[in-house]
Assembly symmetry: D2
Homo-oligomer: 136 residues x 4
Amino acid sequence: MDTAVKYIFELPIKVRDYEVDAEGIVNNANYLHYFEHTRHEFCEQAGLTFREMHERGLDPVVRCITVRYIRPLGLGSSMVSKLALKRRGPVFEFIQDIYTPEGDAVAKAVVEIASFRNGRVSRGDELAEAFKDYLN
Amino acid sequence: MDTAVKYIFELPIKVRDYEVDAEGIVNNANYLHYFEHTRHEFCEQAGLTFREMHERGLDPVVRCITVRYIRPLGLGSSMVSKLALKRRGPVFEFIQDIYTPEGDAVAKAVVEIASFRNGRVSRGDELAEAFKDYLN
Amino acid sequence: MDTAVKYIFELPIKVRDYEVDAEGIVNNANYLHYFEHTRHEFCEQAGLTFREMHERGLDPVVRCITVRYIRPLGLGSSMVSKLALKRRGPVFEFIQDIYTPEGDAVAKAVVEIASFRNGRVSRGDELAEAFKDYLN
Amino acid sequence: MDTAVKYIFELPIKVRDYEVDAEGIVNNANYLHYFEHTRHEFCEQAGLTFREMHERGLDPVVRCITVRYIRPLGLGSSMVSKLALKRRGPVFEFIQDIYTPEGDAVAKAVVEIASFRNGRVSRGDELAEAFKDYLN
């Protein structure tokens, strides 16, 4: 089923050793950092940096996130963070999966983003315009 | 419906201002830190610290987490982090909800924990023993 | 010599276990988080929260920091974070020392803060006014 | 004077937007993460990963750190993190400077590392052996 996901962006990331906790594995919270960084790098590639959005009063906000942790990463590990994107009205749904360089699944997440304009939920049309080549 | 959750532990937490990102709200990843810290403080109250577990070769690991972000926290905000617990065979399911001091919902999560013993999934009997007064 | 430091504020802090890295000790960067959180709690006690400062266009910025790490903290450790304050013209010098609850030194730091007003270095008079009962 | 520093390693790093705090600049503590990550990447290039050291019971520990913050980094900023190295008996002194891609100084640090072997301070001979081509 996962093979059916059509990723539109991928980013190689290397674990920074401070992200590894006393159990010797990357702490669960750091995956949300990896996911966010991947989204922002994707946005930049799509021509709309997070900085520009923020300066224009447009703030994407995480509304819901589900993560399955499949295989731990440790000191010095490398990963590839992949992303697919759907729009559901004002909500953008990012499918975000992390793999080892060999292609084994590490973590799989769905992240729902709503966009706020000057503090109020927006219809997301600016984001949809920026993402139009990537939405399926 | 939420009123039906019987919380067994709660922890007041104050936002540390470095947890607030450029959008002026606590970054999504930090909630996983709040949830983990709450679980560990609960374990300590139940008589089994994370340190002791780790020294005995027993490492609880997050298998799945779902978070709904309802209301943002910002600079200087206070919160109350509440917890309920269920066992499903080897998996412990923590219901973890964060509220403002006034009782408004901030974030609601379900965190599934499996416990590992010397690197292998365990049946979780040590944890169940420690948590026996709290499981419903 | 350290006994000569007249601390004007202290804050008990408990290690959150995610702050402990693969070496089993609190990662060096987290001490800067403890120091910052302590300064902000001190400011709040002095009647001037970081949020209020920020909303008034007044942003304290770290200019220089020196930390000596004396004794590591680990899983579940408790600490007491203490603070003294001097003004040197536009620069506020925070002496920030962390101890175990038993009084053994954990880390000792000097943190120099300059305050910015709407993006420019200010003379620091607002901060000096807020801190006037604490400056020696 | 800084031009006299003979850097032996450099690493391009891009700010991850969650590292930027409510003031719109990278939070002071994150620089210690950048410095540590740079040291570990350097060690890997020198043929001795942090993971291998740790598995052999050899743990480098930060003893003292001094950072001067010169120019802030913000959302989407890029940097180049550079490193030079000296040995002083059992202590390794890392000169760690961060620049913008255009060569403007962002932060300058000196980080003293002592190495521990199975929990006790070591003479640092294993590190010196690994670093022998880089020590001046």
